[in-house]
Point group: D2
Chain length 422, copies 4
């Protein structure tokens, strides 16, 4: 089923950007079968259908209802069904039950999108120059981009529990293997630095305020850790040596029977990896991916290095161009590029906390970030399923330390002057 | 999506019966949206799609593979995906994961059915006169009829967890209310009786051997217990009085917060009931339905009567014609008919056990019944979603005592001569 | 700590019997360390201290409070702490928390027993000839005997989770090995028989009414199944063959990792068994013990025989003297004796249900048996920790099919005339 | 049972300190009944007996076995039973099973202590001047002091699940109510500060290295938050307003039904609090205690302030004398003193992480702190059950954010110059 086309006589800028991002969500669903739209293989993932509806609900709830006179709700219960976690907006459907909503049908969800998009055009025509609304629309579009990434992450996980291991798309020619050049690490000298968002462009509230931090001398690796390096860790007993692991990580490893990253399959002595293009042979030079924080941290300890703090990562990023492998639906799988950004989200050792002076936005949209500042770790840099234009040097992604279904890898760091133990 | 038509030049009898039953399964799916085929709202239910495939797998596995030379499996992994519980046939997909199989698609499942049906025609042409195969085909058809009932039971449950409470079909005009006539109970005098299947027609292995039992004087009520009677039980504190309940029932009642039968909703002081035709007002004279054994047994105790044993029920049934409300897709909801059979399955007080001299059939099909003889209770008589022709006086249905999603109700019994305490 | 002595000038009969049974409970605790009295290693077991208090609470609640004028409760909260499951008596402490009651101390529990025993003497002096009270006292004494058995069963389990595997008492000289003589089976011809309690002596309510049952020809083995026979079952893959098991049993076997009876340990190729006398070498001719119903039933199937029904067992028992190995604290471990009774409880294939015409006793003591008639199976015959004089041919013990910590074994049965398959 | 006295002819210093701390552990057990020594009311707490044995095992394992020639282990399985979490030392008894070890008895545990203490005297006589051993002994003594605090925390929790609410000791006269004086907050100006342990005295590895941090202007309250202030939070709907809570905190609040701090009981409109001296009336001016991080953080948000970071707390502490309410067995319950230290542990907003340059000690004792740096928050300052002399300005205590059984309260902080919203 093709997504319904959106056509409009309106001119550029916000409207064009609105259309482009909204249509891209639907573009990402083209390879799905209708049956795939409802899958929820664990409570943490949401069905594709739900992502399409929830992002639409955001515009309906925060833009249309309060700001478009005469706006008619598409359906009186969609507010209940498609609220994610905004407590102040009202009751909501339990998260683990999202996969049970066969009705509304996929067709009705697409009609919902059309209904809201048409109303958004009217709102933009009437109030397109209002800064408050523009800020909310911008937030809604960034929110939708986050769900574009989630839609692919979640689909990958949903497919992984099917014994047939379906592919989101047919496998392309594998990329030519790239040998890593010898490159110097990023070196930073001790001192006071500024991090955090402070400028004019869009950022989520959790990226600010801009503030000073004191850093000691350190070096950040020029490359992401590769599958090859991770295989060595495994071959040297990485998953059998408790002294390499955080206590909670060792507990989960044993409880879940972890012995390799998520999506790795060993068949006839050969490592394969389940990708959005189906089961593929593992490339040694690709960045290792789908690690939990615990695995990333244990690997770093084994290697005699450590994960960077998010401040260390950001200070390096301030000097780098915003390039790297981001979402290209024709190849949604990480490659080694040599850039600081992209390919895989990079675990940092920083627990996800508020910056000094942080204040959430008042009202329901203030429930966006601050209330998750507990038992999560920060990842930086974006990945191969992060939409183009959705990343910044100050961007703070976060996941619980045991989460593995996001595209999480790592880049090593060390105190400058110290000698690695390997 | 309409089910693919089956056409064949072959003549009547087994083939016609095969077609009729196979097509009826697909007919039952016509009201479903494609999105409904994959739902599994609890581990005990299976997606409609899975029922369609599993019944097909039965013919492929037990008829085509061993008996049709040159038969080509439709898909090498369907044996893994659609085996239900036949340990001796091989490994199988975990039951709670059946709702995660978005692929094969619904279309592919229908193609699977066509593939197997065409091969079954060839097998019938070649071996239609072989008694062993005929017996297996008959078993396969009765098996498919059981899954027709399950498909409706499960769909009802799947829909019940959706806040929109979708209807399987639009609501018909409610039936005229029928006042219950004064009718005498069924009375049986003490003595030795024979029960169990012993004749020539089809029966499942658990219905035999035919054997003698000694019964004391008893009376069986002429009517099923009504919603009205059950409401009185509720109004007199039925769900708050532990002395009426089995210990395990009282535990579950409190754990699950039971205060009414499954699917009952109270809105503005009025009892509604969720049916396959959507939310309907509760009819006082309809048979009460969707009770657990614990609720049926507590009701009987409160009423000063008791549940019949399955032998007591069967001895009465031997004198009654096989009439009652069975599956009519235009009204899949229980009505009071005055017949002994149909409308709702009737809980008995008999734990599901083997009859004296019982031997399971050798081989995998012997895993059909005997291995479940533990922690279940017998229900008798068929219900409003039991296919026509699928019921017998000796038929033994069984469910765990806490199960409520089957169409389970009750008919009271008493020792003759004793005085009811109410 | 020695139990406090009970002395009384009163003469024989009920009082002597009361003293004898009450003191025997305390006698059984002599080998315990004070620290053992509070153990509760799983929710199904109770601490020894709790058994001592609960049996005392029974006399206080059902005899002293209603019938002894001026009786002063020992402690106002003991009713809450030591009620087991009598819903109609009032709220009670949650069962899984029984091990957390360090206070009252063991000393206080013994004082509680003295307090109640002294009051019981007064009650007997005043009302010893009242039939109603005599019946309740008799019930209380049989109740206490049941808890004597439980106290030993539970202590065995409590000790089994301690890596030091403590012994309840030091190991005696092992008994001389007895070779089993060739003896004919018990044979019974088809016909109508009477079972159940109908006479004048004491029986629990669930043992009646006496009633007729029709039985077919059958043979009951003269010996209990031995460890030797069970080892053969294990060696022939008994725990790896799903076709031998009930579906629920196979599920639990895999979930729990069962590969031998409870308390068996294999060390250096030798089977040892944890007993109340510590770890002992397994005797091949001893009766196999600590089997679940699932294991007993699977063994019987493997052997080509079956478990008897409780009616079949009882009809044989009516012709046998009440002899066998019962509780002798100097050797609380099963031996093969050749008697029908004793050594190990014998699993029957009968689900625990009410007999025709069964009515529980009115009031709280009616909660004794009837409310457990669900998801349990009947065991017959008593065992090596059943107090002398506590068993009858009509006695019905019952446990859930997965329970293994009671002393459960089996004796095989077969339809007469059928040929065993082995 | 009185603890066995320790007498020795040896002179002062390390030996005296060793004796003093070891005897103090036993002194704390004097009020316990023998039955209390084995209690484990949840997996997070350990029985008093286990604390006595585990602290002894530490000396046996890390001092005596490797360093005292000819040392004989007290019991070969105590290493298995009393290892807490040292993976590199070997297998260990599962934590939730610690309450099941009735043997060894309490008497044997005290004998174990005597055995180890006598050997420690020999070791000190031989090697008392060895710096490496002195450091390990010092670690062992600080370790034992931590378990002294745990022993009281755990006993309080163990007693709280007993409906009798036993008291650890009889209630003293309540302290005179103290009105809080008007005092200025601690003010700190923005700038670079040093925190962390860098000197010569004892500290745990997680307290170092000393390092620079940049802080902005802030003010720290002069008083701990009182019960009175917390009651206002409750009265204004603190436990019903999701916008005040972290998402995970709101989830747990609802799951557990939190509506007040742990140990608070409302009886007849009056708040009581369960203490180590039994149930007491709540004092409004006492510091609020037994809060989770979630509750402390929600309270601060409601108050328009925030929790301090651990760096902010430590910078203030560097200028304060080490005074406050620490462990005095005659009054183990928090009071308001006006000191920065003591009374209740103060939750900070700092996730428990490593300081820059942190390296765990090599070997098993390195498993002490670093491996828990995940999903925990730092608390500072010591409390009314922290042994005298066991606290420092750099001391970092840590608990998961949902933990409430430690003596956790809070002191508020604010950005200087900002206006509180209340």
């Amino acid at each position: 089923m093709l997504p319904p086309p959106l056509t409009s006589p309106l001119p550029a800028s916000t409207l064009q950007r609105y259309y482009a991002i909204r249509q891209f969500s639907e573009r990402l669903c083209v390879p799905l079968e209708l049956e795939d739209y409802g899958l929820q293989a664990m409570p943490d993932v949401s069905p594709p259908k739900w992502h399409l509806a929830h992002t639409t609900w955001f515009f309906e709830t925060f833009l249309l209802e309060p700001h478009l006179p005469g706006y008619r709700l598409f359906h009186p219960q969609f507010g209940y069904l498609f609220n994610s976690y905004y407590e102040t907006v009202g009751a909501r459907h339990p998260r683990p039950q999202r996969g049970m909503i066969s009705r509304p049908t996929v067709r009705e969800i697409y009609q919902y999108r059309v209904h809201v998009d048409e109303a958004m055009v009217r709102l933009l025509e009437q109030r397109g120059d209002c800064p408050e609304l523009s800020a909310l629309i911008e937030l809604g579009l960034h929110h939708e981009q986050q769900h574009q990434e989630l839609l692919l992450m979640d689909t990958k996980f949903n497919f992984s529990v099917n014994p047939l291991l379906p592919a989101y798309q047919s496998a392309p020619v594998p990329p030519p293997r790239e040998d890593l050049l010898e490159v110097n690490p990023y070196r930073v000298a001790a001192g006071l630095y500024e991090i955090g968002h402070g400028g004019k462009g869009f950022a989520f509230d959790n990226e600010g305020p801009r503030h000073q931090v004191f850093l000691q001398d350190y070096e950040l690796d020029p490359y992401l850790v590769t599958n090859q390096a991770y295989l060595e860790f495994m071959q040297e007993g990485g998953y059998q040596r408790p002294e390499l692991w955080l206590s909670e990580g060792w507990f989960i490893l044993n409880q879940e029977g972890w012995s390799a990253p998520l999506y790795w399959h060993r068949q006839d002595q050969i490592w394969q990896v389940m990708t959005l293009m189906g089961l593929q042979r593992l490339h040694p030079q690709e960045p290792v991916c789908h690690l939990s924080y615990f695995e990333a941290e244990a690997f770093a300890r084994w290697k005699g290095k450590r994960l960077p703090t998010e401040a260390e990562w950001e200070v390096v990023a301030q000097s780098q161009s915003l390039q790297g492998q981001f979402l290209d639906p024709s190849y949604p799988h990480p490659r080694q590029t040599g850039a600081l950004y992209g390919s895989v989200w990079q675990w940092t050792q920083s627990p996800y906390s508020s910056y000094p002076g942080f204040q959430p936005v008042p009202g329901a949209v203030g429930e966006y970030n601050g209330k998750f500042m507990c038992n999560q770790f920060v990842l930086r840099g974006g990945c191969c399923v992060t939409p183009q234009g959705h990343i910044r040097s100050t961007y703070r992604n976060f996941f619980p330390p045991q989460a593995r279904w996001q595209f999480g890898g790592l880049r090593l760091c060390r105190d400058a002057g110290s000698d690695p133990q390997v």
